[in-house]
């Protein structure tokens, strides 16, 4: 549980520079519609996530991700799988 929380916090940190103003990012927010993350930004975000967590993120995994929390769950799974 603690590990998941850490992953979520790191993801929020990574997303923060890509959202407008000082919007507070919450776990339930929709990445595309609430945070206005488009495909260009997502490429950069994915690269950051891969570097920070030292994982490879397949595009297929992300196609079902909608919210920040869902992203955290998927990242956590990949981190566990690559241990």
């Amino acid at each position: 549980m603690k590990a998941e929380k850490v992953v979520l916090e790191r993801i929020v940190e990574i997303l923060q520079p890509f959202v407008s103003g000082k919007m507070e990012i919450t776990p339930g927010m929709d990445i595309e519609s609430d945070l206005a993350i488009d495909s260009l930004k997502s490429m950069e975000i994915l690269a950051s996530l891969e570097d920070v967590f030292d994982i490879s993120i397949p595009l297929n995994v992300l196609s079902e991700v909608r919210t920040v929390e869902e992203l955290a769950v998927q990242i956590q799974k990949l981190v566990e799988a690559e241990k």
Binding site: D38, L40, M43, A47, E50, I55, S56, P58, N60
Partner: protein, 393 residues
Amino acid sequence: MGLFDKFENITASLNVIEQQCCAFFNIIIEEILSATEAVINGRRVILAGTNNYLGLPLRKECKEAACRAIEKEGTGTTGSRMANGTYSSHVALEQDISDFYGRSNTIVFTTGYSANLAMLSTLVGPKDIVLLDADCHASIYDGCRLGGVQVYRFRHNDVDDLEKRLKRLRKQDTNILIVLEGLYSMLGDRAPLREIASVKEEYGAYLLVDEAHSLGVLGNRGRGLSEEAGVEDAVDFIVGTFSKSLGSVGGFCTSNHKELEIIRYASRPYVFTASSSPANIAAAKAALEIIRREPQLRERLWENADALYGRLKEMGFRVGPEPSPIIPVRFEEVARAFSAWNRLLDQGVYVNMVLPPATPDGTALLRCSLSAAHTMEQVEKIAGAFSAVRDFE
């Protein structure tokens, strides 16, 4: 919620575009006058956005070959390659392509799109990995999705980024197929293929290069970037299309892996569609022969490309990263691209307009593509039209 409600966002965007640029999505080529000229909206225009790199769709030899094929074999095959749709002409063209590339095996598909769809959905499966350049064509992404392979992207033309990902992914101990394009259709830039081939060898991966825009355009014999970069032996699979330099419709994959043949039996986009028409096959065959015997077409294409690229750059337009027969002119604001596109058409020059999110960096592009069939006078006219657009702005 109605069946079509999900298209609300697209409809809203279309309305905005049509208000500013009413002809854009409804452009009709009313009459083809030559390889480089047509009638649009009742007036004569220079075609500078048709990917017709060598001007072959109207070449006498290609037209006559297509007509002869129709006379002999009819207008369509009415069947799949796997059933009654493989004629001796399909097999002969496969042999010609193998000979052209110096490879053992070739499969001809019905379109370039289906060639990528077939290869990427079949060659690799859910237990394999595809590592593709982020700017790859939609047909490559679609093929990967159809076959369910694990897909990872590397930053466009970034060899360090590719290697970083290979380092991580090799821990999975599975087949890795690197996929990229010879000449990229949006920005007209080449892949750093020599470096990528070296990394591919180091990590024991496979390499597929889509030479759709580079066949007949790059290399001493027109074999594309793989030839120009001197790394043909490192490229496992070359995919290409007939619908650009060859001026026909169809696609292919060629390889020295003899096992390529098994794709015919396992690939849905090969099995479940009608084969190319005899006319398309005959025209492609004739065009390939012209590419072999007329290297001067490639030289003329590059003279035109270098001239226009230089002129647009001098004028201060934001063009692509290197001289190329594909010359994008970038606009930060979509509205300015609309305005420029309309003005170019008013002055008798047709180019492609490409809008985000289809563009690589979020800018709007007016994309020119040059042809060996353009005269230098036409190239000057295209440059002159852009100059007038710049002066207006």
